[in-house]
Subunit: 181 residues, 2 copies
Amino acid sequence: MGYRHRREDMLAAAVDVARAEGLSSLSFGRVARQVGTNDRTVVYYFPTKADLIGAVLLTLGEELQALLAEAFGEQPIPPDDLVKRAWPALARPDSQPIFALFFEIIGLAAVGATPYDVLAPAMLEQWLAWLEPRLAVDDPVERRAHALAVLARIDGLLLLRTIAGSEAAQEAARVSGLTDR
Amino acid sequence: MGYRHRREDMLAAAVDVARAEGLSSLSFGRVARQVGTNDRTVVYYFPTKADLIGAVLLTLGEELQALLAEAFGEQPIPPDDLVKRAWPALARPDSQPIFALFFEIIGLAAVGATPYDVLAPAMLEQWLAWLEPRLAVDDPVERRAHALAVLARIDGLLLLRTIAGSEAAQEAARVSGLTDR
Protein backbone atom coordinates (compact mmCIF):
# COMPACT_ATOMS: atom_id res chain seq x y z
CA MET A 1 0.00 0.00 0.00
CA GLY A 2 2.33 2.74 -1.28
CA TYR A 3 1.79 6.45 -1.62
CA ARG A 4 0.10 5.81 -4.95
CA HIS A 5 -2.88 4.22 -3.25
CA ARG A 6 -3.92 6.95 -0.89
CA ARG A 7 -7.48 7.72 0.10
CA GLU A 8 -7.79 10.43 -2.54
CA ASP A 9 -6.83 8.03 -5.33
CA MET A 10 -9.42 5.50 -4.17
CA LEU A 11 -12.08 8.16 -3.86
CA ALA A 12 -11.30 9.54 -7.33
CA ALA A 13 -11.52 6.00 -8.73
CA ALA A 14 -14.84 5.41 -6.93
CA VAL A 15 -16.24 8.67 -8.33
CA ASP A 16 -15.17 7.62 -11.84
CA VAL A 17 -16.83 4.21 -11.49
CA ALA A 18 -20.04 5.75 -10.12
CA ARG A 19 -20.22 8.32 -12.93
CA ALA A 20 -19.57 5.76 -15.66
CA GLU A 21 -21.60 2.80 -14.40
CA GLY A 22 -23.90 3.93 -11.57
CA LEU A 23 -23.65 3.27 -7.85
CA SER A 24 -24.93 -0.29 -8.18
CA SER A 25 -21.60 -1.12 -9.88
CA LEU A 26 -19.58 0.45 -7.09
CA SER A 27 -17.86 -2.24 -5.02
CA PHE A 28 -14.57 -2.58 -3.13
CA GLY A 29 -13.34 -4.93 -5.85
CA ARG A 30 -14.30 -2.57 -8.67
CA VAL A 31 -12.47 0.35 -7.02
CA ALA A 32 -9.46 -1.85 -6.24
CA ARG A 33 -9.17 -2.94 -9.88
CA GLN A 34 -9.51 0.66 -11.05
CA VAL A 35 -6.61 1.78 -8.83
CA GLY A 36 -4.61 -1.41 -9.34
CA THR A 37 -4.61 -2.62 -5.76
CA ASN A 38 -6.54 -5.19 -3.69
CA ASP A 39 -9.89 -5.04 -1.89
CA ARG A 40 -8.29 -4.82 1.57
CA THR A 41 -6.53 -1.58 0.73
CA VAL A 42 -9.85 -0.01 -0.25
CA VAL A 43 -11.53 -1.35 2.90
CA TYR A 44 -8.71 0.14 4.99
CA TYR A 45 -9.78 3.63 3.88
CA PHE A 46 -13.52 2.97 3.49
CA PRO A 47 -14.50 0.29 6.04
CA THR A 48 -18.09 -0.12 4.79
CA LYS A 49 -19.85 0.31 1.48
CA ALA A 50 -21.87 3.11 3.08
CA ASP A 51 -18.56 4.93 3.83
CA LEU A 52 -17.49 4.54 0.20
CA ILE A 53 -20.81 5.66 -1.32
CA GLY A 54 -21.18 8.46 1.24
CA ALA A 55 -17.73 9.80 0.30
CA VAL A 56 -18.60 9.65 -3.42
CA LEU A 57 -21.84 11.57 -2.81
CA LEU A 58 -20.07 14.19 -0.74
CA THR A 59 -17.50 14.70 -3.50
CA LEU A 60 -20.17 15.06 -6.20
CA GLY A 61 -22.25 17.32 -3.94
CA GLU A 62 -19.29 19.62 -3.30
CA GLU A 63 -18.67 19.80 -7.03
CA LEU A 64 -22.25 20.98 -7.63
CA GLN A 65 -22.14 23.34 -4.66
CA ALA A 66 -18.99 25.04 -6.02
CA LEU A 67 -20.83 25.57 -9.33
CA LEU A 68 -23.87 26.99 -7.51
CA ALA A 69 -21.92 29.19 -5.09
CA GLU A 70 -20.63 31.03 -8.13
CA ALA A 71 -24.15 31.53 -9.51
CA PHE A 72 -25.54 32.66 -6.14
CA GLY A 73 -22.91 35.27 -5.28
CA GLU A 74 -21.90 36.40 -1.80
CA GLN A 75 -25.14 37.78 -0.34
CA PRO A 76 -28.22 35.83 0.80
CA ILE A 77 -30.97 36.15 -1.84
CA PRO A 78 -34.76 35.63 -1.88
CA PRO A 79 -35.88 32.02 -2.61
CA ASP A 80 -37.35 32.77 -6.06
CA ASP A 81 -34.16 34.52 -7.18
CA LEU A 82 -32.08 31.65 -5.86
CA VAL A 83 -34.04 29.11 -7.92
CA LYS A 84 -33.74 31.37 -10.99
CA ARG A 85 -29.97 31.57 -10.57
CA ALA A 86 -29.58 27.88 -9.76
CA TRP A 87 -31.50 26.54 -12.73
CA PRO A 88 -29.21 27.61 -15.62
CA ALA A 89 -26.16 26.42 -13.64
CA LEU A 90 -27.74 23.02 -12.95
CA ALA A 91 -29.32 22.63 -16.38
CA ARG A 92 -25.88 22.35 -18.00
CA PRO A 93 -25.68 18.97 -19.73
CA ASP A 94 -22.39 18.06 -17.99
CA SER A 95 -24.09 17.98 -14.59
CA GLN A 96 -26.66 15.37 -15.69
CA PRO A 97 -24.50 12.32 -14.73
CA ILE A 98 -24.34 13.61 -11.14
CA PHE A 99 -28.13 13.94 -10.94
CA ALA A 100 -28.56 10.50 -12.46
CA LEU A 101 -26.67 9.16 -9.41
CA PHE A 102 -28.72 11.29 -7.01
CA PHE A 103 -31.93 9.88 -8.48
CA GLU A 104 -30.51 6.37 -8.32
CA ILE A 105 -29.92 6.87 -4.57
CA ILE A 106 -33.35 8.37 -4.01
CA GLY A 107 -34.96 5.47 -5.86
CA LEU A 108 -33.08 2.91 -3.78
CA ALA A 109 -33.88 4.81 -0.56
CA ALA A 110 -37.55 5.01 -1.57
CA VAL A 111 -37.85 1.23 -1.44
CA GLY A 112 -35.81 0.96 1.77
CA ALA A 113 -32.54 -0.41 0.34
CA THR A 114 -29.55 -0.09 2.70
CA PRO A 115 -27.38 1.96 3.00
CA TYR A 116 -29.30 4.35 0.74
CA ASP A 117 -32.21 4.69 3.18
CA VAL A 118 -29.74 6.41 5.54
CA LEU A 119 -27.53 8.11 2.93
CA ALA A 120 -30.39 9.85 1.08
CA PRO A 121 -31.76 11.77 4.10
CA ALA A 122 -28.16 12.60 5.15
CA MET A 123 -27.49 13.97 1.65
CA LEU A 124 -30.66 16.07 1.85
CA GLU A 125 -29.70 17.46 5.27
CA GLN A 126 -26.29 18.39 3.94
CA TRP A 127 -27.94 20.29 1.08
CA LEU A 128 -30.35 22.06 3.44
CA ALA A 129 -27.49 23.13 5.73
CA TRP A 130 -25.68 24.50 2.70
CA LEU A 131 -28.73 26.29 1.26
CA GLU A 132 -30.25 27.87 4.37
CA PRO A 133 -27.61 30.58 5.00
CA ARG A 134 -27.86 31.54 1.32
CA LEU A 135 -31.56 32.40 1.61
CA ALA A 136 -32.64 35.94 2.50
CA VAL A 137 -35.38 34.84 4.92
CA ASP A 138 -35.18 36.13 8.51
CA ASP A 139 -37.21 33.63 10.50
CA PRO A 140 -35.27 30.35 10.88
CA VAL A 141 -38.40 28.15 10.62
CA GLU A 142 -39.49 29.94 7.45
CA ARG A 143 -35.94 29.83 6.12
CA ARG A 144 -35.85 26.05 6.48
CA ALA A 145 -39.30 25.70 4.88
CA HIS A 146 -38.11 27.80 1.93
CA ALA A 147 -34.90 25.75 1.63
CA LEU A 148 -37.08 22.61 1.44
CA ALA A 149 -39.29 24.26 -1.20
CA VAL A 150 -36.25 25.33 -3.25
CA LEU A 151 -34.96 21.74 -3.25
CA ALA A 152 -38.40 20.41 -4.21
CA ARG A 153 -38.70 22.86 -7.13
CA ILE A 154 -35.23 22.16 -8.48
CA ASP A 155 -35.40 18.40 -7.94
CA GLY A 156 -38.76 18.25 -9.71
CA LEU A 157 -37.29 19.93 -12.79
CA LEU A 158 -34.17 17.77 -12.70
CA LEU A 159 -36.32 14.66 -12.40
CA LEU A 160 -38.27 15.80 -15.44
CA ARG A 161 -35.03 16.36 -17.33
CA THR A 162 -33.79 12.91 -16.37
CA ILE A 163 -36.92 11.21 -17.71
CA ALA A 164 -38.21 13.48 -20.47
CA GLY A 165 -35.04 15.28 -21.59
CA SER A 166 -33.62 18.76 -21.54
CA GLU A 167 -36.20 20.42 -23.75
CA ALA A 168 -39.15 19.24 -21.64
CA ALA A 169 -37.44 20.50 -18.46
CA GLN A 170 -36.71 23.87 -20.08
CA GLU A 171 -40.34 24.20 -21.11
CA ALA A 172 -41.47 23.51 -17.55
CA ALA A 173 -38.87 25.98 -16.22
CA ARG A 174 -40.10 28.61 -18.69
CA VAL A 175 -43.77 28.47 -17.67
CA SER A 176 -42.64 28.40 -14.02
CA GLY A 177 -41.03 31.80 -14.61
CA LEU A 178 -37.45 30.54 -14.22
CA THR A 179 -36.24 31.48 -17.70
CA ASP A 180 -37.16 34.27 -20.07
CA ARG A 181 -37.73 32.28 -23.21
CA MET B 1 -53.90 -23.18 -16.41
CA GLY B 2 -57.47 -22.97 -15.03
CA TYR B 3 -59.77 -20.02 -14.57
CA ARG B 4 -58.09 -19.27 -11.24
CA HIS B 5 -54.90 -18.17 -13.00
CA ARG B 6 -56.20 -15.52 -15.29
CA ARG B 7 -54.32 -12.41 -16.26
CA GLU B 8 -56.08 -10.31 -13.63
CA ASP B 9 -54.98 -12.67 -10.85
CA MET B 10 -51.35 -12.53 -12.00
CA LEU B 11 -51.47 -8.76 -12.29
CA ALA B 12 -52.99 -8.40 -8.83
CA ALA B 13 -50.28 -10.67 -7.43
CA ALA B 14 -47.57 -8.66 -9.22
CA VAL B 15 -48.98 -5.40 -7.81
CA ASP B 16 -48.95 -6.92 -4.31
CA VAL B 17 -45.32 -8.06 -4.65
CA ALA B 18 -44.24 -4.66 -6.01
CA ARG B 19 -46.00 -2.78 -3.20
CA ALA B 20 -44.58 -5.01 -0.48
CA GLU B 21 -41.04 -5.58 -1.74
CA GLY B 22 -40.27 -3.12 -4.54
CA LEU B 23 -39.94 -3.72 -8.27
CA SER B 24 -36.50 -5.28 -7.95
CA SER B 25 -38.21 -8.27 -6.24
CA LEU B 26 -40.72 -8.64 -9.05
CA SER B 27 -39.93 -11.73 -11.13
CA PHE B 28 -41.94 -14.34 -13.03
CA GLY B 29 -41.11 -16.88 -10.33
CA ARG B 30 -42.16 -14.57 -7.49
CA VAL B 31 -45.54 -13.87 -9.15
CA ALA B 32 -46.03 -17.57 -9.95
CA ARG B 33 -45.42 -18.54 -6.30
CA GLN B 34 -47.81 -15.82 -5.12
CA VAL B 35 -50.61 -17.13 -7.36
CA GLY B 36 -49.69 -20.79 -6.86
CA THR B 37 -48.79 -21.61 -10.45
CA ASN B 38 -45.61 -21.97 -12.51
CA ASP B 39 -43.39 -19.44 -14.31
CA ARG B 40 -44.65 -20.45 -17.74
CA THR B 41 -48.21 -19.48 -16.92
CA VAL B 42 -47.07 -15.99 -15.94
CA VAL B 43 -44.93 -15.70 -19.08
CA TYR B 44 -47.96 -16.71 -21.15
CA TYR B 45 -49.74 -13.53 -20.04
CA PHE B 46 -46.68 -11.27 -19.65
CA PRO B 47 -44.07 -12.41 -22.20
CA THR B 48 -41.32 -10.08 -20.94
CA LYS B 49 -40.42 -8.51 -17.62
CA ALA B 50 -41.08 -5.12 -19.22
CA ASP B 51 -44.66 -6.25 -19.96
CA LEU B 52 -45.11 -7.31 -16.34
CA ILE B 53 -43.65 -4.15 -14.82
CA GLY B 54 -45.42 -1.96 -17.38
CA ALA B 55 -48.77 -3.52 -16.43
CA VAL B 56 -48.06 -2.99 -12.71
CA LEU B 57 -47.22 0.67 -13.33
CA LEU B 58 -50.34 1.18 -15.40
CA THR B 59 -52.49 -0.32 -12.63
CA LEU B 60 -50.91 1.85 -9.93
CA GLY B 61 -51.12 4.92 -12.16
CA GLU B 62 -54.83 4.35 -12.81
CA GLU B 63 -55.40 4.03 -9.07
CA LEU B 64 -53.79 7.44 -8.49
CA GLN B 65 -55.57 8.98 -11.44
CA ALA B 66 -58.97 7.86 -10.08
CA LEU B 67 -58.09 9.57 -6.79
CA LEU B 68 -57.03 12.74 -8.60
CA ALA B 69 -59.97 12.85 -11.02
CA GLU B 70 -62.22 13.18 -7.97
CA ALA B 71 -60.15 16.08 -6.59
CA PHE B 72 -60.01 17.85 -9.96
CA GLY B 73 -63.72 17.77 -10.83
CA GLU B 74 -65.23 17.79 -14.31
CA GLN B 75 -64.01 21.08 -15.77
CA PRO B 76 -60.46 21.97 -16.90
CA ILE B 77 -58.80 24.19 -14.28
CA PRO B 78 -55.80 26.59 -14.23
CA PRO B 79 -52.42 24.91 -13.50
CA ASP B 80 -51.96 26.50 -10.04
CA ASP B 81 -55.44 25.39 -8.93
CA LEU B 82 -54.77 21.92 -10.24
CA VAL B 83 -51.58 21.58 -8.18
CA LYS B 84 -53.43 22.91 -5.11
CA ARG B 85 -56.17 20.32 -5.52
CA ALA B 86 -53.75 17.50 -6.34
CA TRP B 87 -51.46 17.97 -3.37
CA PRO B 88 -53.82 17.04 -0.48
CA ALA B 89 -55.05 14.02 -2.46
CA LEU B 90 -51.49 12.82 -3.15
CA ALA B 91 -50.13 13.69 0.29
CA ARG B 92 -52.31 11.01 1.90
CA PRO B 93 -49.98 8.53 3.61
CA ASP B 94 -51.58 5.52 1.87
CA SER B 95 -50.35 6.70 -1.53
CA GLN B 96 -46.69 6.76 -0.42
CA PRO B 97 -45.95 3.10 -1.38
CA ILE B 98 -47.00 3.88 -4.96
CA PHE B 99 -44.62 6.84 -5.15
CA ALA B 100 -41.83 4.80 -3.65
CA LEU B 101 -42.16 2.51 -6.69
CA PHE B 102 -42.30 5.46 -9.08
CA PHE B 103 -39.06 6.82 -7.62
CA GLU B 104 -37.48 3.37 -7.79
CA ILE B 105 -38.25 3.29 -11.54
CA ILE B 106 -36.99 6.80 -12.09
CA GLY B 107 -33.76 5.98 -10.24
CA LEU B 108 -33.21 2.86 -12.34
CA ALA B 109 -34.04 4.75 -15.53
CA ALA B 110 -31.65 7.55 -14.52
CA VAL B 111 -28.70 5.15 -14.68
CA GLY B 112 -29.93 3.51 -17.87
CA ALA B 113 -31.17 0.18 -16.46
CA THR B 114 -33.47 -1.75 -18.82
CA PRO B 115 -36.47 -1.93 -19.12
CA TYR B 116 -36.86 1.12 -16.86
CA ASP B 117 -35.10 3.47 -19.29
CA VAL B 118 -38.04 2.85 -21.66
CA LEU B 119 -40.80 2.42 -19.04
CA ALA B 120 -40.10 5.68 -17.20
CA PRO B 121 -40.55 7.99 -20.23
CA ALA B 122 -43.63 5.96 -21.25
CA MET B 123 -45.08 6.42 -17.75
CA LEU B 124 -44.43 10.16 -17.95
CA GLU B 125 -46.08 10.41 -21.38
CA GLN B 126 -49.12 8.58 -20.04
CA TRP B 127 -49.37 11.10 -17.18
CA LEU B 128 -49.00 14.05 -19.56
CA ALA B 129 -51.74 12.71 -21.84
CA TRP B 130 -53.98 12.34 -18.80
CA LEU B 131 -53.18 15.78 -17.38
CA GLU B 132 -53.28 17.97 -20.48
CA PRO B 133 -57.07 17.92 -21.11
CA ARG B 134 -57.57 18.77 -17.41
CA LEU B 135 -55.66 22.05 -17.72
CA ALA B 136 -57.50 25.26 -18.61
CA VAL B 137 -54.81 26.49 -21.02
CA ASP B 138 -55.89 27.23 -24.61
CA ASP B 139 -52.67 27.00 -26.60
CA PRO B 140 -51.61 23.31 -26.97
CA VAL B 141 -47.86 24.07 -26.72
CA GLU B 142 -48.43 26.10 -23.55
CA ARG B 143 -50.77 23.45 -22.20
CA ARG B 144 -48.12 20.78 -22.58
CA ALA B 145 -45.48 23.04 -20.98
CA HIS B 146 -47.82 23.63 -18.02
CA ALA B 147 -48.53 19.90 -17.73
CA LEU B 148 -44.76 19.30 -17.54
CA ALA B 149 -44.44 22.05 -14.91
CA VAL B 150 -47.31 20.58 -12.85
CA LEU B 151 -45.59 17.18 -12.86
CA ALA B 152 -42.26 18.76 -11.88
CA ARG B 153 -43.84 20.66 -8.96
CA ILE B 154 -45.71 17.66 -7.62
CA ASP B 155 -42.86 15.20 -8.15
CA GLY B 156 -40.44 17.53 -6.38
CA LEU B 157 -42.68 17.62 -3.30
CA LEU B 158 -43.25 13.87 -3.39
CA LEU B 159 -39.51 13.29 -3.70
CA LEU B 160 -39.00 15.48 -0.65
CA ARG B 161 -41.63 13.53 1.25
CA THR B 162 -39.99 10.25 0.26
CA ILE B 163 -36.60 11.34 1.61
CA ALA B 164 -37.36 13.84 4.38
CA GLY B 165 -40.84 12.77 5.48
CA SER B 166 -44.35 14.16 5.44
CA GLU B 167 -43.79 17.17 7.65
CA ALA B 168 -40.90 18.50 5.54
CA ALA B 169 -42.98 18.12 2.37
CA GLN B 170 -45.94 19.91 3.97
CA GLU B 171 -43.68 22.78 5.02
CA ALA B 172 -42.39 23.13 1.45
CA ALA B 173 -45.98 22.94 0.12
CA ARG B 174 -47.05 25.63 2.60
CA VAL B 175 -44.40 28.20 1.57
CA SER B 176 -45.13 27.32 -2.08
CA GLY B 177 -48.72 28.49 -1.50
CA LEU B 178 -50.27 25.03 -1.88
CA THR B 179 -51.78 24.81 1.60
CA ASP B 180 -53.16 27.40 3.95
CA ARG B 181 -51.36 26.40 7.13
